[in-house]
Amino acid sequence: MAETAAPANSAQKNLSLRVSPAAPLGAAFEAGSVRGVVELREVPFLTMVGLRVNRNSGAGQRVASVTGGLPAGCGSVSGTGDTSVLWLGPEEFLVVAPTEAHESLGGDLIQALREALGGDAGQVVDLSANRTTFELSGPRARAVLEKGCSLDLHPSVLQAGTALSTEIGNIPAVLWKTGDESFRIFPRASFADFLGRWLLDAMREYASPEVP
């Protein structure tokens, strides 16, 4: 569980004790990545905040001013700088921010969101420990994902900067296309080991020379 209240001496906490959900697979990710073809790594401990607010309400506009906008519809991503907001549902959003934005490390993002929401209808929930982040990149990243994701991932359909909540390898995950050949995948923490191994298995063929 993530910290719900920042201790007074939060900056002095021993961060080396933290273990990310896919940490046991770190060496396997390193070994399984094929340089310049498809690479996989975990981006641990990103700050994530679950937002539930009507984006047309007053609270929604106040929250949007903190995050740099709220996405309008399925697939869209908004945000400024390091902070991104992914659309999960008509009134449900996922804020993804760097580790340092978490209040246990002195960040003020979550507190600012709470203050923006105020007492209005909605939720601001720290979900940093709910999901972990995989970064899959390389020219073959799309081919790897296509083995277990039924969305049309062709670049003419799925453009960079699109995030969709869907199924990958039969488990629910959020897929965010961050660049032309790079994806971020957000599986729930309990699925991280499974999806990590699934991706490694799907990547394995690209380590061998292509059979003509």
Binding site: N54, R55, N56, P71, A72, G73, C74, G75, S76, L88, G89, P90, E91, E92, S150, L151, D152, V157, L158, Q159, T162, L164, S165, T166, E167, N170, P172
Partner: protein, 139 residues
């Protein structure tokens, strides 16, 4: 595998959805006044329609929103998709030809420009007129 056109997200595989049973089963006005039999019928008795059937679905791994669907239980043809709370579209084909996303909620995005077009196919309510669906018990 059904390809279901979610009103918010566009066409997705059936595995992303959960079935919610028959739609338009109203909660009794005064549950206390029902006999045990009437209460049991409200809880457990459902239509077993052959033909067009109105049912609820939840896009559980997508936008997590409920919606209603008019589906033919024989051919599996999805005849209409419409929001929760709205009346069942006339099976004879009075549905608006609105690409099957008959959402009226202000923030419930239909397949507009913001939405990525990931649809290979989408349910076409226009085909209803061609289907003389055998109408079962209409609630």
């Amino acid at each position: 595998m059904l390809l279901i056109s979610c009103p918010n997200c566009g066409s997705r595989d059936e595995t992303e959805f959960h079935y919610g049973g028959q739609a338009h089963v109203a909660y009794p006005e005064n549950p206390n006044e029902l006999t045990d039999r009437e209460w049991a019928e409200y809880l457990f008795y459902r239509d077993n329609t052959k033909g067009a059937f109105a049912e609820r679905w939840l896009h559980s791994t997508g936008c997590r929103q409920w919606f209603n669907m008019l589906r033919d239980t024989v051919t599996y043809e999805i005849q209409a998709i419409y929001p929760m709370g709205s009346p069942r579209p006339d099976a004879a084909g009075k549905v608006t030809a609105d690409t099957g996303t008959a959402s009226t909620a202000a923030d419930s995005t239909t397949t507009g420009s913001a939405s990525p077009d990931i649809s290979g196919t989408s349910s076409s309510p226009t085909s209803i007129s061609s289907t003389t669906a055998p109408e079962g018990a209409t609630p």
